[in-house]
């Protein structure tokens, strides 16, 4: 397998991360993904929910599969609401079940729903990122459509040549979504008011974003920092809320052909990233200042010290 040349300077005083664990999910077994692993999310008990192919697999915090169930259509996004209901974003619909895949029901809204590639909850709102409509749909808990976000601009939506739209909402109810074709993360209030954006095209400068369309996915820390994944070469970047680069997890850990790598952060601030080619979930932990591990460990199974 070839890898991307990385000529960028990496004299960094930034946060460093090392690979803690690889959750190997590729295969033809019942709790494995044969063709695609597209989304991950945490349940309230810190179990990891993964969606791909036409199934959901739930892993315990050590990465061991706990249970799995089939979905009606291929899943593109997954989220667990505060009540423990699991939402799976699909093409034209959202499949909802309890956290064991039971009591399944399908939520459709043909007037609005296209390809749902991210789901989030905030207060009484359910937010669906729609990669076909290039906007975010806001519904109330009773599934009544409230409004769209991100479409009131000259481009009539987010600019996503990579055909994937991610989102995350912080504790203050601020919506963050990457507009990858504009090399930025855009912020909105949930009433649709645009608050601004961070990020720019950076070329070889790692503090910006390169390629046609980056960043593709994002996740938020509790303190306002955010982490994004980028493609070509695949990488994770961690930023302050103002957009200053704090850390990078570089290409060597991932298959060079990865794109639209979903990302999630647990309560211990471990970063979980989907390798969309090898169908693994890689778990990274910050290296403490006194530790001597390299910033990017080889993708082998290691345990925390």
């Amino acid at each position: 397998m070839t890898s991307w040349p990385d000529r960028r300077d990496d004299k960094n005083t930034m946060n460093k991360y090392r690979l803690l664990r690889t959750i190997r999910a590729q295969g033809h077994g019942p709790a494995q993904f044969a063709h695609a692993l597209r989304g991950i999310a945490f349940g309230g008990d810190q179990t990891l929910y993964a969606v791909g192919d036409k199934k959901v697999v739930v892993f315990d915090p050590r990465g061991e599969p706990l249970r799995t169930w089939a979905t009606d259509k291929p899943g593109h996004a997954i989220a667990v609401d505060p009540n423990g209901s699991v939402y799976v974003g699909q093409d034209g619909q959202v499949e909802i079940s309890d956290n064991h895949g039971r009591q399944r029901r399908t939520w459709r809204d043909p007037q609005h729903m296209g390809l749902i590639t991210a789901i989030a909850f905030s207060g009484d709102s359910i937010l669906l990122a729609d990669a076909k409509a290039r906007r975010i749909h806001v519904y109330d808990r009773e599934k009544n459509f409230q409004r769209d976000i991100g479409h009131e601009n000259r481009m009539r939506g987010f600019v996503i040549p990579n055909r994937h739209l991610d989102l995350a909402v912080d504790a203050q109810g601020v919506l963050h979504a990457p507009s990858s074709g504009q090399h930025r993360v855009v912020r909105f209030k949930l009433d649709g008011e645009r608050l601004g954006h961070v990020g720019r095209f950076g070329g070889p400068d790692p503090s910006g974003f390169s390629g046609c369309c980056n960043p593709t996915n994002l996740a938020l820390f509790d303190d306002g920092r955010f982490a994004v994944t980028v493609k070509a070469p695949p990488e994770v970047k961690i930023f302050t809320s103002e957009g200053a680069l704090l850390g990078r997890i570089k290409a060597a850990a991932f298959d060079a052909n990865c794109k639209n790598m979903d990302i999630a952060i647990d309560k211990q601030e471990r970063i979980y990233v989907v390798d969309t080619e090898r169908l693994h979930v890689l778990v990274f932990v910050p290296v403490s200042e006194t530790a001597t591990q390299p910033a990017t460990a080889a993708p082998t199974e290691t345990e925390s010290p």
Binding site: R7, P161, G181, F201, C212, C213, P234
Partner: protein, 202 residues
């Protein structure tokens, strides 16, 4: 007597010559007939510049270098239905070059400057990223080097650009020199119904 023999020799030689010319003409006709029913095609799934999975490597430039023509018969073709019309196109720009004052890469990728970047509609002066851009390949400049094809390939781009043999330029060599030089056997001679070459190009 010797004069008669000379005349006979002359007539014999002339007869042989006419026969040979006729046979040669017939062979050339048959050969051209067989050529008209086949054409050299590039298989994008074999060409290293467009084949998915092969990333982080320099573009293969054999199509530009190996053609018997001084200016190759191969061209890059952008499938506009597939193109993302990106603000920063990795096939147009050298995305590893330093960023200029306008926030764009300072260098272009095409060594022959054969791609034109045109904004679709008016450009937002405060935010040029607030726009789509059309990328048009100038075939009078493109020599099929494949750099843009490699630049546009997924996951960096959307793989909307591929290489094609232009039939109106191709001289239909019986043994195509690019096919011989291609390290990935991406060239194939495929049967094509008479008249289809023109139709395809049109």
């Amino acid at each position: 007597m010797s004069e008669v023999m000379n005349r006979r020799e002359l007539l014999e030689k002339a007869g042989r010559g006419v026969t040979l010319l006729g046979l040669g003409g017939l062979a050339a006709y048959l050969l051209s007939k067989s050529d008209a029913e086949g054409a050299w095609l590039i298989d994008p799934s074999k060409c290293i510049n467009s084949r998915l999975g092969a990333v982080g490597i320099p573009a293969c430039e054999r199509c530009a270098d190996s053609c018997v023509l001084e200016f190759s018969a191969v061209r890059a073709v952008n499938d506009h239905a597939k193109c993302g019309r990106c603000y920063i196109c990795p096939a147009y720009f050298d995305i590893r070059s330093p960023v200029n004052a306008e926030g764009l890469p300072s260098k272009k990728l095409c060594p022959r400057d054969a791609i034109e970047r045109k904004p679709i509609g008016w450009v937002d002066p405060y935010d040029p990223a607030n726009n789509y851009y059309e990328y048009i390949i100038d075939e009078t400049r493109c020599n099929g080097c494949g750099k843009c094809v490699m630049g546009c390939k997924e996951p960096a781009g959307l793989s909307s650009i591929r290489l094609e043999v232009r039939y109106d330029l191709c001289v239909d060599c019986n043994r195509c020199s690019i096919a011989l030089a291609c390290p990935h056997e991406a060239y194939d001679r495929r049967p094509i119904a008479p008249g289809d070459k023109q139709d395809e190009h049109a």
